[in-house]
Symmetry: D2
Subunit: 494 residues, 4 copies
């Protein structure tokens, strides 16, 4: 049944390009963000001006123990990277707790994990946790820009087989992935993927490898979508865990994270004062709810547009006027899209905005704002800051476009480590679950993390807040018909 996966898969991929999904693109954006904030945050940092231009693929590198099974930018940066990892450890107590609790039993003993994710200090904490739990790991980057070279160096120095550097070519990208899986005498039995490229590569090049693989853990919307399509087509040959849709991750990535990042992204790019500003937020899902709450709290006057009457009614009850975009487009100071839709803000709207109006996107991809429509001869583009363009109309009206319509929160602010911690913990637990599940629990299908493990991820993050959970008494558990240790809610609970 794996006879011609590559053809079928290629089609899917093409389809995807037509509708780039939120988190898929997010991956890309995040890397851009991190590189850009690096340059801000660490003037005194680790860029090494004497870095030669030689491709890492052409270098001979060995770590201090003589091991050379990796390919990175510069092993000398390992010390700096180690410090970054140590700082990240402090903010990822859940993974550290997991190390402690599960270290004795080594639940991943025998696991051979091949991974393809962003390579950052947070990922390093995850990898070293997997290792502490017994796994062997080989790793590539899921994005050509996002690798923190110093962290990659620290991992290589620590004995991990890492193949990644910042600024890979596309050819480098696939070469690195191949080096992870195409090894003599080592065959992976678990896949941890972010975007589906690693899975895609194995399907295409080494389909037989799936015979030994116990499961796939996938984090991105894009990758998850591919897996569902494979499953639907009957081509999925191992169980897969959809980490993206776990409730904990969703709530934190969207509602709570956006509540803070909308403010941060707008301030860093425009220094705008929020008080008294009129803002229209397109879309009142979790992201829109977060944006609206934050701006209202800062003294902005917020309007909402919606297509779904239920979300619309929620917006009303939360104190926002529900309008059509056209009704307010002339008067607002800021336009924010969070719909997941395309062409929500089009040229006609942009033409009618007032001078100085700020336009940005918190939704997904760069489809929400029709940026292409602004690339016409009569309009002048002026780059005034990193991520900030002024589009100037013939009558001198200026529109302030942020991040060229890409995701604001990922382009112009940072993702809190706390959110990354939740994701990484969920990934680790998903690997443990799939690796240890008794035969038959999981079929060749895509699964959500069991509710109980979702709750476990949450519980591991409570000590950060010095939060004390109440336990059910036996009598209460019986009364409610619940197990004292959970799960406490049905799977669909949000």
């Amino acid at each position: 049944s794996l006879s011609s996966p590559q053809i079928q898969f290629a089609d899917q991929k093409q389809e995807f390009n037509k509708r780039p999904s939120k988190i898929g693109r997010r991956s890309l954006s995040r890397s851009i963000s991190q590189s850009s904030t690096d340059s801000y945050s660490s003037a005194a940092s680790y860029t090494d001006s004497s870095d030669d231009e030689t491709s890492p693929r052409d270098k001979q590198q060995k770590n201090s123990k003589g091991n050379g099974d990796f390919c990175i930018k510069n092993i000398k940066q390992a010390d700096f990277g180690r410090r970054e990892i140590e700082i990240a450890e402090q903010e990822m107590p859940a993974l550290m707790a997991l190390r402690k609790r599960a270290q004795g039993e080594k639940p991943l003993a025998g696991a051979k994990v091949v991974g393809c994710t962003h390579i950052t200090a947070q990922t390093a904490v995850l990898m070293e946790t997997l290792s502490a739990l017994g796994a062997q790991c080989r790793w590539a980057a899921c994005n050509i820009y996002s690798t923190q070279n110093e962290v990659a160096a620290a991992l290589a120095e620590g004995g991990f087989s890492v193949f990644a550097w910042k600024g890979e070519s596309e050819d480098d990208f696939w070469w690195c992935i191949d080096r992870c899986v195409n090894v003599e005498g080592w065959q992976p039995n678990m896949i941890l993927d972010d975007g589906g490229d690693l899975t895609h590569w194995i399907y295409k090049k080494y389909p037989n490898m799936f015979k030994k693989i116990k499961g796939i853990v996938e984090e991105s919307v894009t990758g998850v979508h591919r897996l569902y399509q494979l499953s639907k087509a009957g081509k999925l040959c191992v169980p897969a865990m959809n980490v993206n849709d776990s409730v904990t991750k969703q709530k934190f990535d969207n509602l709570y994270c956006c509540r803070e990042s909308i403010l941060d992204g707008l301030k860093r790019t425009t220094d705008v004062m929020f008080g008294g500003k009129q803002v229209v937020v397109c879309g009142y899902g979790e992201v829109g709810k977060g944006c609206c709450a934050a701006l209202k709290a800062m003294g902005s006057i917020v309007y909402v547009t919606e297509i779904d009457p239920i979300c619309a009614l929620q917006a009303c009850m939360d104190g926002f006027r529900l309008v059509k975009l056209n009704e307010v487009i002339r008067q607002v100071d800021i336009v924010i899209t969070c719909t997941g839709n395309k062409n929500v803000v089009v040229r006609e709207h942009l033409d009618r905005m007032k001078n100085g109006c700020i336009v940005c996107n918190m939704g997904h991809s760069n489809t929400e704002i029709d940026v292409a429509s602004l690339r016409t001869p009569e309009l002048t583009w002026e780059r005034v800051r990193s991520q900030v363009d002024h589009i100037i109309w013939p009558d001198a009206k200026r529109i302030v476009l942020l991040a060229e319509g890409r995701l604001l929160n990922l382009s112009c602010s940072t993702v809190p480590t706390f959110v990354l911690s939740i994701t990484a913990t969920t990934q680790a637990l998903a690997l443990i679950e799939l690796y240890n599940a008794p035969e038959g629990r999981y079929k060749q299908d895509v699964y959500l993390l069991p509710k109980k493990m979702d709750e476990y991820v949450a519980s591991l993050h409570l000590p950060t807040f010095d939060a004390h959970l109440t336990e059910l008494t036996d009598e209460q558990a019986k009364y409610l018909g619940l197990n004292k240790n959970g799960p406490f809610k049905p799977n669909y609970y949000r």
Copy 2:
């Protein structure tokens, strides 16, 4: 398959008494609430001191057209009741819109609806809407206290066969229900129930009637639970619609309604100033979230207890300290339970509370606070106001217990008509859907209202807020893979 439903059903009922469900009791509470607020709101109102003490069952009554197929308290009160109905109509625009939109096609033509609900002005608007859509209706009260006699009179005067009055005996209660269904030459083909008593009665006494019945619409948790049990036992012989769990109703009944009623209930009973008060809220579900948000906004310092780590993490992110009850019980000014659990506040907690602490319940039933434990000889109870007791310890410490631990928002505040409007509209649509569904769409099972109709209910309530919904373009709908008219979200979306 209907051979012995009554025995099985009786067992279920008994089981229910052990765990009285939230909305089941709510029905009761609402009626108490309404009667109590009546006495407040309408000193100049319609109580007729010359009312004789004769039982309505013993009276001969006819309306002005000579029709006598009803049994109510006093047909002379019809005018007053009509005005109440007219006022309610103004606040239930969705039902009025439904009348207008659907009146031409009479989607309930031929429907014979037997109903058993609270008989209030809002219900009257529902009944007259059903009638306008083509249905014939016979109606009894689902609660012995909640009937507004004047409204019942107006309905009887309007030609409805209503059997209900305030202060029925239990025997009256079943007699009224029987009068609704046991009619010569008329057999119901739809059931609208609130609590399951009507359904129960038909199962028990007239099981053959189900042959002509197209479906049951049930609003209460209790009744829904019974239906699920029947279904599980294979004894449900018609399709049933669970109106209680529709997303619109849930959000409004819990989050938004409680956000307002917690303040209202506390003020009306205790005149407490919220600013600076320390409050512990037990449970951070929708009800708890509403209570916490309102109190925080009024300047209270709020602590939360939770058993579910996911809700606990939400509480943390929303800015509430997560504690165990014992940690703060000595210092708080107000204790509010919203867990749905039992014995959340027990005597030990009550013993440790400080002087003047207010204790109340927003969750369900009277199980959350162990009120029984306060009925001991060394404690003195003092009724200081309606719904307010001081419990006095030997050392003179006073605890202020509200509504004897029953639901505060229903005992001591009013349910906004807007919430009732959403419920009534949902009921009407559920009846239309079940009555008109093509053969085979619904089996002998319990269903949620289709998402699309849920969205329709919401959309009917938007004009109240002068809210303008955005419509998808064809291109956008295609991009999102959605129908332009919805549904816009998956069924499980909350």
Copy 3:
């Protein structure tokens, strides 16, 4: 210089009638409020149906010790009143602390205080505190409706010379005041007034009494205004303390108190749901700020009107659209006036409001809404509840007018004891200050309470919140140029 005070004073009074001040009218409103809420809160309460109709002035009354120097409704109600006082004591910890701290030194020993205020449980706590500090007191009511008869009975039973009952005639009113001051062998040396009527009476009838009077403490805006006019005219013959304008009282009476009472007042009268409602608040002073903050927090959409550009800019920065009333009058669901101005809402506005619009006043008096303009033949008034009128236009449009345009928070909600506690404590301290001030500290002028005493009042209320104040170190005090014990801010600080 006191030769003809009555003429001059009468003129002032007339002038006053033209511009009735906020707190002056408030006094009246509060009493109405309390009587109305009494009837709500205590169905099981102390109304004695066997009360005879004899005027108290015609009764012979003696307390249990044989003392008859008082005139009240019914001495038998003393026990009930005592309990009310005890409950009030629990909520007025500052006065109780004052009793304890100052009792040893009796700072009011020798003081003969004549008072004219509302006679409520809270006033009783004040009077008994003054007594504990050494003062002798004689007391009349400042309002013909506001006296709690039971409390007056308890005071009489406790030995106070009280002359007051609920429902006095105007003649009774002045008779009671006269009985307080016109006593053989007793002459007051301190005045505690609320509204200026007592002061007025002494000026008019017993001007020579001022020779022994050390000072006046006045709480109402009306009374304070009169005092300033006397002072301006050179007719004020003793020092007077303006208690009304102390910062603590102002902030609590206006901002914090209104933040809660606007919600309470609207709910109790109309059961309106706040979420999604459009509201216009006229005036953005302290009262307006409180109303806006509360309604915004409950999910209303709030518009503000202002005449002062500074307050207007604050409204903008706080997130409210600043409009003229005409711009939004057709669309709003609720209109609230808090301007202190007259004819803010006039017939023209009322004509344009939409059906069901609620109109109420939180500002002062009944001048803000031109209620008189609604008394025209084509409009029908319908009293639907206590304090709630529907005004019906010929086209059936209804406007919901609350409290006939009088102060909503005082007519339809209760004043929290905490606020009354702050006022009463301030009054007590003002009496102590004036009584003990060395010769020359205060001249024949109107004074604000010294900042330090204002801070002391605040500090006495902190324990209620378990609040812990930080103390300056000597070094810090020196650095800031402050005394370690205050005052910490300049007098004008708000």
Copy 4:
């Protein structure tokens, strides 16, 4: 009386160094901030790598019209600077409106203004406004780091005599000031100062100049304090206007500005997630109120410390627990000082903080946190980002110290142009008022801007918010005893 001003003045200055005032230091901080954010915001900006190292004082420079009466970095940068000024103009509508309204009458015709302020695009808009109103201007920088060289170039190109560049030595600083005043054939008649250095220089070097000077407008706390001391000592020889204490400026600089900048400053430096964090804010004045409100809205749990019982009571009513710092120091994640005091956070507190605790100052100067106490051998300082130090204890505990205890909002975020606009408009009006005041209106004293002009500044900023002010009717103005055009509040109103 001006015989030896320099000696006396020097003493004052010394005194000042002991207690550096908030805004005085602020000036310095702002410039640092702007230079640092420049480097962030404008990678593609105007740094000219070919800039020579020659001192501007040694260069011969002429603008395109041949005028050479200025001394700046590089006249070639004028075009870039002009664009910066144009962008600033868009955000300073009040000044632009002032230009339009007052241009006809030239209220500053004949005015010769010598100024010493930060030289930024916003200042340029002010200067060009003064010029449009008829004034001649000569200008120096009040801070050696804050000059935007490109803006200075644009001003020089436009004909202004500007003497300023970024990176002046102290000697340059005074040389520039001297060049402004020491001109043949030109003598200033108005002073616009920020910090008092210009005023000081004239007192010291050219005391006779004051004979022609009509007044001083001073913006900083430091400068204002000096003026009050001069006045007190009888040495102030012209009227001076204290712009710093105008209510509009105060409210915006403190409450509204800090509400936004606390979030911005923390995010930019630490990327901390606010949700669920425990924060202690020391001081609940305007700044503290702004910080607390913002953090509470973002989901932090906020504790407050206070010394003033009135502010303490406000904190309670606003929903914050009032504690002593010691009570919570072990548990908080963030410590923020806003007291204006010294040694609020001392080594003992720092020793007890938990690992990762963030410490920063929003109050004034660097006195609030005893940073010096951290310069001990056992502690390691690690600079992790610009403005961010980790202080590491021997047991590896890290404290995150921001801006070395200097003002966070000025070091690590930007001052919104809107706030600068209010200040600049106030300065312009103060100049107009002093210059045009009839003889005798102002004496040799320090004045606040008349309330009415304060209101005028506010009104000029309302159009930004599309805010519509209501006007009093004649009848209402009479009723309130107010002029229809204001002032609407007493001078002390805040």
